[in-house]
Every structure is written in structure tokens, then in C-alpha cells.
């Protein structure tokens, strides 16, 4: 079945580009007719951003070194950085209730089923189907999607399931005594081995504690720009799994 899908999907890939043409053309025209002052403004803004980011990156390098040293002292393996592949969203799946998008990188770029996809703000989804020149990504808000997470502040583990709404995730199995409050950052825990650890998933939006129930209802606002991003990153986790435990 997967083979059939791949063959048909590869044949149909150009249709996504055709359907996307108005936006691609619009983007091109925007580039051509951008005014000088707008470009200068953008340039200024980007320069400022580069400065800020390079400052953070300097600190990051410092911390990375320190972290490696500490890990060495503890005798555990250093964490390798993830590699990423930039992809562009070329289509969305039109069925109501299905949160899936199509990206322009497929098996010829080395994409595999199960890889995590992030955007500039946080976890975006995972690859569920790979054609030769495109692949299909299931968003974290789809009702069929769930991702193992932890609260960044205190490491409480849970699973963030999609609710079918673009702006909401729900944490499963959070007991009413768990220390989860509004504003907590939720990040991937890396358990289960499918998603790399430490990518932001969202921010706790509300915690409803029903004293009669044993679990509280925790809603999370995804940090990724699920209905805005045009460019996403496919994460290639470093190959460590084959030599983890003796």
C-alpha cells in the first residue's frame, strides 16, 4: 500500500505546485516590487536580529562547552547537535479536521517517515508519508497526534495530544496534585525516541482542576506558528540509538 501511495503521490506532486502558484507568484512579485525604504527597514531589522542571535549563540557555545565538560565529569555521553533540512510548505490537506501539510522535500532529500518537523518557534509535527519529491507532515494539533513532553520548569512528564483545533493541545494524565501552572513551558521529553529532546511544544494556557476527578485538564497553546509558517525544518537526529545500552 505504501508503494502505491508513493507512486501516485509522486505523480501528483506537481498539482501541489500548481495550486500554490498564486502565492509563489505573489511572493516573487513582492520581491520584485519591494520599495527601497521597505528593504532598508527590513535590512535594519534583520541586522539587529542577527546581532541579538549571535549574542545568544555565543552564550550557547559557552554553555555547550560547559555542559560537555560536566557530562564528561559525570561519565555520560555528550549530546550531539541535530542536523536540519529546510523545507517549504507547498500544500495543505483540505479535509476538514485533518491537520496535515505537504512539504517540498522527499525521499530524494533523505527524508524518512517519523522524522520530527519544527519551525522557528517550536515543534511543528512529524513526517507520516514520504514521496520522492514531497512528503506529508502530520501537525501536532491533529487529533491523531500525540507527543511525549515534559514541563521545562520541573520535568513533570506527560503526553501532549492534539485536539483538532489549531490553537490547542491537551496534556494527558496530569494528576491534580502535579505542579503545573499557567505559563509553564512545555518541551519535548525525547522519550519514545521519535522526537528529539528539548524542543519547545507550547505554553500552558489553562489548568482546570476538578476536585472530584483524579486528573486535571491542562490546555497548551502550541508555540509553533502552525497556520502561518511557510518554511519548516526537518530534524535529522544524530545516529546514537544503535549504541546506547550494552
Amino acid at each position: 500500500m505504501r508503494g502505491t501511495r508513493q507512486v501516485f503521490g509522486t505523480m501528483l506532486a506537481p498539482l501541489h505546485y500548481v495550486a500554490e502558484t498564486p502565492y509563489l507568484v505573489g511572493e516573487e512579485l513582492g520581491n520584485v516590487f519591494a520599495t527601497r525604504s521597505a528593504l532598508l527597514d527590513e535590512n535594519q531589522m534583520l541586522k539587529r536580529q542577527v546581532l541579538e542571535l549571535s549574542k545568544i549563540s555565543l552564550q550557547y557555545r559557552n554553555l555547550l562547552k560547559e555542559n560537555e565538560n560536566l557530562r564528561e565529569l559525570l561519565g555520560s555521553r555528550a549530546r550531539l547537535p541535530d542536523e536540519v533540512l529546510i523545507a517549504e510548505i507547498i500544500g495543505i490537506v483540505p479535509t476538514v479536521g485533518a491537520h496535515q501539510v505537504v512539504i517540498d522535500k522527499g525521499s530524494d532529500a533523505g527524508v524518512q517517515i517519523g522524522q520530527a518537523v519544527i519551525d522557528s518557534e517550536g515543534l511543528f509535527g512529524q513526517v507520516v508519508e514520504v514521496d520522492v519529491y514531497s512528503s506529508r507532515v502530520l501537525l501536532i494539533t491533529d487529533r491523531d497526534h500525540a507527543v511525549p513532553v515534559q514541563i521545562n520548569r520541573n520535568g513533570i512528564r506527560s503526553i501532549a495530544g492534539g485536539t483538532g483545533r489549531m490553537d490547542q493541545l491537551e496534556l494527558e494524565n496530569v494528576t491534580i496534585t502535579a505542579d503545573v501552572v499557567k505559563g509553564d513551558l512545555v518541551e519535548t521529553s525525547g522519550l519514545g525516541g521519535r522526537f528529539p529532546e528539548g524542543y519547545p511544544v507550547g505554553e500552558v494556557e489553562s489548568v482546570v482542576v476538578d476536585p472530584a476527578a483524579s486528573l486535571s485538564r491542562v490546555l497548551v497553546r502550541p508555540s509553533a506558528l502552525l497556520d502561518r509558517s511557510r518554511h519548516v525544518l526537518v530534524v535529522f537526529a544524530p545516529e546514537t540509538r544503535d549504541e546506547v545500552l550494552p
Binding site: 501528483l12 498539482l15 500544500g91 483540505p94 476538514v96 479536521g97 485533518a98 487529533r143 497556520d227
Partner: protein
């Protein structure tokens, strides 16, 4: 389908229907506008079956459905079954349907699209965690409203290119 006799027009219009059904509105527009999308593919298939019942058969409708399945990420065969059902009804009753007034045809289109969407929703409910909702009525309604224009437009094209 015999390409020499304008089968390319049928095929091209179906490809256009596929593109229309994956085309999306700008991200800045409200999301619910996207739900109003008519079911272009079943509409176009229904028109061709009714106009030229000898050109579009059950098997070709079913095979075309596989393309729709792959494009939408649905279970393989689902849209094939739906399209084949619509094709069968069109093929069985085309003489009567052609005699209907526009309003009556719109009613038939509403029921056909609704029936097809209910089947799709049932399968989605079984294969994925999507469930039932009243949203199923929306594409049927919008399809019904665009049907007169679709059928007029395709009829004009068909006569223009002399597809028999």
C-alpha cells in the same frame, strides 16, 4: 476514454477539479472560509457521467478516486468507492436527471454530496480519530449552490470542443 474524441477535455477538467480541491486561501483569511469549499471532484465527475454516460465508467471513476485518496491522505479506495457510487447513480438515472429542472438537480447534487461525505466521515471515524460533526452539511450546501454554474460552464466547454 478515447483521447481522440476529446477525452483530454474530461481529463483536464478533472485535473482542474483536483487542483481546486487542494487550493487554499491565504493564511491571513479566517479559517472557516476554507470549510465552504464545494466538493469539486464529485461535482465534476457527476457532470461528466450525466452528460456522457458512455465515456466515464465505474472503473475509471474508481481509479481516479485513488488519485484523490493519495492527494487527501485518505485510506486507499475510499474516494474511489464514493466516486463510483456517484457514477453509478448518474449512469443509472441520467435520462431522468437531464429532464430535471435546475432546482431539482441541485437537490440531487445536495443528496449525492452529502451521502458521499457521510460515507467518508464514517470511514474517517473508524480509521482516524476525527468523529462526526455538522460540518458535513457545509460542502453539500455549497456544492449545491455552485452546481448550476459548474454544469453550465462545463456544458459550454463540452459543446465548444465537440466532445461526444
Amino acid at each position: 476514454m478515447n483521447p481522440a474524441q476529446g477525452g483530454w477535455l474530461i481529463l483536464a477538467s478533472l485535473v482542474v477539479a483536483l487542483v481546486l480541491s487542494i487550493f487554499h486561501l491565504p493564511e491571513t483569511w479566517p479559517q472557516w472560509l476554507g470549510w465552504l469549499r464545494p466538493a469539486w471532484v464529485p461535482l465534476f465527475v457527476f457532470f461528466w457521467v450525466m452528460a456522457l454516460p458512455h465515456r466515464l465508467g465505474l472503473v475509471s471513476a474508481w481509479i481516479f478516486g485513488i488519485f484523490v485518496d493519495v492527494l487527501f491522505g485518505d485510506p486507499i479506495g475510499l474516494n474511489g468507492a464514493v466516486l463510483a457510487g456517484i457514477t453509478y447513480i448518474g449512469w443509472r438515472f441520467y435520462e431522468r436527471l437531464r429532464m430535471y429542472s435546475v432546482v431539482q438537480q441541485c437537490g440531487v447534487v445536495f443528496l449525492l454530496i452529502l451521502g458521499g461525505d457521510l460515507v467518508r466521515m464514517l470511514v474517517h471515524d473508524l480509521s482516524a480519530d476525527r468523529g462526526w460533526s455538522w460540518a458535513v452539511l457545509v460542502p453539500a450546501l455549497t456544492s449545491m449552490l455552485v452546481w448550476p454554474f459548474v454544469s453550465l460552464f462545463l456544458q459550454r466547454l463540452r459543446l465548444q470542443f465537440g466532445v461526444e
